[in-house]
Amino acid sequence: MLKQEINELLTRTGPDTEMGDLFRQYWIPAMLAEELPEDGCPPVRVKLLSERMIAIRDSSGRYGLMDEFCAHRGVSLWFGNNETNGLRCAYHGWKYDVTGQCVEVPSEPANSGFCAKVKLTAYPLVKIGDVLWTYMGDPAKQPPLPEYEWVHVPSEQTYTSKRWQECNWLQALEGGIDSSHVSWLHSAGLKNDPLFKGSKGNQYNLNDMKPYFEVVDSEGGLYVGVRRNAEEGHYYWRITPWVMPAFTMVPPRGDHPVHGHFWVPIDDENCWVFTFDYQPVRALTESEVQAMKDGHGVHNEFVPGTYRPLANKDNDYLMDRAAQKRGETFSGIKGIAMQDASLQESMGPIVDRGKERLVSADSGIIKARRKLIQAALDLREQGLTPPGVDPEHHKVRSAAIVLPKDQAFLDAAQDALTVQPGVRQATV
């Protein structure tokens, strides 16, 4: 049960909201690099944290993210021409560089200096890996760039997709923290998905449907450990890190790539789910990449030419009752990603957490909410930098590991949960 005002605090991320201020302390994924594929390419409309912006890659290869609307008459700059070192508004020809600085107002004398006084709100846009990242907070407090491993391994070792999810960011994120649904909703995927099947860990998963949960504070957020019975005297642990505010990783299976998500608010009723797969020490194989492009694993198929999932709320997520009856899917929906998204969207755009009935297995979600609330209030009242801003907090891994029963996962798996360049992921 959550009071309405607390639910509001957690879910609203627009300007001047508590959670919006919190998100504006971090570098967050803004878009995929493929959306701005070459110098001088067409601009792209981007909405993040309830702010509408235009993203450009200018003729010199510089990236910029600025207010979508021209300072002159408020028309969208999406219609503009990406000219030499700037975007020119299609209405009256005002031109802006990647910092949002107006560099030309054709109706004014060239030496009037008027354009120097016109500047759109703009944010940095930086390419790291396959992702363009932005920081939408106070420039004076801009933190160092993100250090997540998935965007720092060589390009042949990593793959990222993004999809539109039609609900508030928090209920999407909470699905990434909530490990207890995997044995149910995704049970069939463990048997037949090309990016999941075949690992020994899957057998532990499927043989023990009543796992134990252990939630442990970390510097950047939480570790959520799920333990199941393994061989005599041992537990099989699956450990999910959450780095504040919105980064989660799924524990690996066998030699399959490691995957995870970054859950980014578009506005209060929509979010982007950036979904990645990578191998810390080897290139992805052709068949692995093809499986990701085909929507397997934690990825999905798309409506052609868009980032909207092919299975979406307008077509009842392509519900297949026959497959459900045959046991090929648990919910009738194909694919891990859309199994999650369909249920999370069914809760409504912003679920009323005053009506939910949590149980102790939800401790990860409970603790994550408390950490978000506390960080937002500490920021607003005391100006404290929240967990997860420090790039050292980004250097985490998920892990799947078998340990003797008397060992605490955080002690025994500390190395496995920390990025070690050149060292393979801990997996079973």
Partner: protein, 145 residues
């Protein structure tokens, strides 16, 4: 059969349609018979102020006997060190026998955390290891205790 009305398909997940959700009646809420057990002196210090507050169907125990578990359906054990290991084992055994859900909350210093976790892990289906003492109240509130 294809859905014919907005509210009979997934597109009904809108804020507008949410207006038509049936409100939960207070009398129909599931209340748990919760027992909060302070396993050591440090835990008692944390739990005592909580016991003063109004809760729904929760009782707070400082002398960890198992008689008080008679009609419980959820037990939250709180530890700040390993002193309560024997009590946790006794409570855990009773809970297994009677099908009572168990959870553990470790609120320990770095020095004592390992012992507290070791004491609680075998006897808790869920374990939360935290540095924030306010999590005791937060957890109970979230669980509707």
């Amino acid at each position: 059969m294809r859905p014919t009305l907005l509210n009979s398909c997934a597109s009904a997940a809108t804020a507008e349609e949410a207006r038509f959700r049936i409100d939960a009646k207070p009398g129909l809420r599931v209340e748990r018979a919760t027992r909060v057990v302070a396993l050591d002196a440090g835990a008692a210090e944390i739990v005592r102020p909580l016991a003063e507050a109004p809760w729904l169907g929760s009782r707070f125990l400082f002398d960890a006997g198992t008689d008080e578990l008679e009609d419980a359906d959820f037990v939250l054990m709180i530890a700040t060190n390993g002193d309560g290991a024997a009590a946790a084992a006794a409570i855990g055994d009773v809970c297994v026998l009677r099908g009572i859900m168990t959870a553990g909350l470790v609120l320990a210093s770095d020095q004592d955390q390992g012992a507290a976790v070791t004491a609680l892990r075998p006897h808790s289906r869920v374990l939360l290891v935290s540095r924030d003492r306010r999590d005791a109240a937060g957890l109970l509130t979230a669980l509707g205790a």
